[in-house]
């Protein structure tokens, strides 16, 4: 690649939501940007549930609704706690979500990322596909000045490298910019795409037009591991998946595939998928360590965005919006330094962290900083004992069998106290409230 004799203003590694956001914003502002993606097309290596949160994208491409490939806008959220035969649900559905500019959409990442990548090119960035960045190039002072790829040729130089390389983040890790991801701060999720006629989906989920439903589920479906299951309605397909913390998985003999099969065959899920045709089986890691797992984000000549920076809010199942926001804020920092003709030093790029601190990204991650540890340490209770107790209580309460209601109430309370003691429950409640605040 000897043709790139002049250094780029910025190189972006990766074309997921964070990399595309960064490359788009910088190119739009007139910077000379090169983006490098290892897949045949943007999205070919990317996996997500997937929900798109409109706000983060609207701040980058305000008119995205006119052209982006969107599946359904979400009007109903179902939160389920499950035991082996039941689910107890909290559902929120509102016609308010049928608004002119809907708030959340289901999407298919392979198609969405391809569209976002076309916008990046339209904005003027040069995008190289089918090219894997293998290492960073540093000068004698240790400042990052470019990248090497698996293509023949000289290294490609840039004033700054934006690492949007995803959860595995090989380039940054191998260059010593951050530690390896730890198995107890990352979840392995497996997912299938099930196709059905759109009328069937609409009838089955009580939807019309482009309305959509999402189900988030926890309980015995993860067999004692820290994790959640999900089911999202797309236009003509259903995304169904389940994920658990990797270190939990490593301690069991349950394969991810068996876990997904059991979830799909749960009596509450199975009828929703009946007669569908599966067309893809995917797996991906999700960084779930939260605030405490965030690595160093900037240094001389480099800046980290998206999953590589562990920007996922596991409690609220948000990730792509954090990715796009970190990508945008990193880009705005680089644009501002470039305009002022400032060097991409560690001190100058630290401005990115300052700006990020003022967004929901850092505020939310900070708020929940204790939750990942709490759930993981008490996984037996939160993902086993309580879901079972709740289900048993519901069944006692709703089954009409000649037993009086006072006795039923007593039986429910006795079951909770005998299974998890009053002190245990109060402790869990206290710890949960404290971690939540």
């Amino acid at each position: 690649m000897g043709e790139f004799s002049k250094p780029f203003d910025a190189i972006v590694v990766g074309a997921g939501p964070s990399g595309n956001a960064a490359a788009y914003v910088m190119a739009k502002e007139g910077l000379n940007v090169l983006q490098i993606e290892r897949g045949e097309y943007a999205g070919s290596k990317n996996v997500q549930g997937a929900i798109l949160y409109a706000d983060a994208l609207e701040k980058i491409i305000p008119e995205f609704r006119d052209e982006a490939p969107l599946e359904r806008h979400v009007i109903e959220q179902r939160m389920w706690t499950m035991d082996d035969k039941s689910h107890t649900g909290m559902h929120y559905r509102s016609d308010d979500f049928n608004e002119e500019k809907p708030n959340r959409y289901t999407i298919l990442r392979a198609q969405f990322d391809k569209w976002f990548s076309s916008k990046v090119k339209e904005a003027g960035a040069l995008v190289l596909y089918e090219t894997t960045v293998t290492e960073l190039v540093k000068d004698l002072s240790g400042k990052v000045i470019g990248v090497r790829t698996d293509r023949q040729g000289a290294p490609i130089m840039a004033n700054v490298v934006v690492l949007a390389e995803g959860v595995n983040g090989l380039v940054g890790q191998r260059s010593g910019l951050r530690n390896e991801v730890s198995p107890d701060t990352v979840a392995l999720a497996v997912k299938e795409m099930h196709f059905l006629p759109r009328e069937t989906i609409e009838a089955r989920f009580n939807l019309s037009g482009n309305e959509g439903v999402v189900i988030e589920a926890m309980g015995t479906i993860t067999k004692g591991m820290t994790g959640t299951g999900f089911l999202y309605t797309n236009e003509e397909s259903i995304s169904v998946g389940i994920g658990c913390i990797v270190s939990d998985f490593a301690e069991t003999d349950v394969t991810p595939n068996e876990l997904l099969e059991a979830f799909k065959n749960h009596p509450s899920i199975k009828p929703l998928l009946a007669d569908s045709e599966c067309k893809e089986y995917a797996a991906h890691l999700i960084p779930e360590g939260g605030y405490k797992a965030i690595p160093q984000l900037t240094g001389a000549g480099w800046i980290v965005v998206g999953d590589a920076g562990q920007f996922v809010n596991a409690v609220h199942r948000e990730g792509s919006n954090l990715a796009m926001t970190t990508g945008r804020v990193a880009a705005e920092t680089v644009v501002s330094l470039t305009r002022k003709r400032e060097e991409m030093t560690a001190a100058n790029l630290a401005e990115y962290e300052k700006r990020l601190g003022q967004t929901f990204v850092m505020k939310d991650l900070k708020k929940y900083k204790g939750i990942p540890d709490l759930l993981h340490r008490n996984k037996g209770n939160f993902f086993g004992t309580y879901p079972k107790l709740i289900s048993a209580a519901m069944q006692t309460w709703f089954r009409v069998d000649g037993i009086d209601k006072i006795s039923k109430e007593k039986a429910i309370i006795r079951n909770f106290r005998e299974t998890r003691t009053l002190w245990g429950m109060m402790g869990d409640a206290f710890r949960l409230v404290r971690a939540w605040r």
């Binding site: 897949g39 990442r109 595995n168 390896e180 198995p183 990797v246 595939n257 067309k279 995917a282 890691l285």
Partner: protein
């Protein structure tokens, strides 16, 4: 034992047939380093790999066949301390090609 193992493994393989891959023939992106006794972490990959790429040989070693790899990176992270797995991304353009993601 073999029956119990065969059922879910076969099913994963069936699922992988749904996926699109461009296999970089002769250049696997994951290699298990030569060993006599696998660590517990490496052994765990036999059940943990979502694509069922890892298996045990007759001699008790663990081997990998990475053609059906979903590129999640779980094996890399699980064996990061033992260093038994050499993990790279496939060359640009090769490997799994998600249609839907």
């Amino acid at each position: 034992m073999s029956d119990v193992m065969a059922a879910p493994r076969a099913k994963v393989e069936e699922k992988l047939f749904q996926n699109r891959y461009l296999v970089d023939a002769g250049r696997p992106h994951i290699k298990v380093k030569p060993h006599t006794t696998p660590s517990a972490s490496l052994m765990a990959m036999i059940t943990l790999c979502p694509a069922g790429c890892y298996s045990k040989t007759e001699n008790g070693q663990v081997e990998v066949a990475a053609d059906g790899c979903l590129e999640c990176g779980t094996c890399r992270i699980v064996t990061r301390k033992t260093g038994e797995v050499e993990w790279n991304y496939p060359r640009g353009g090769f490997g799994v090609l998600y249609k839907f993601g």
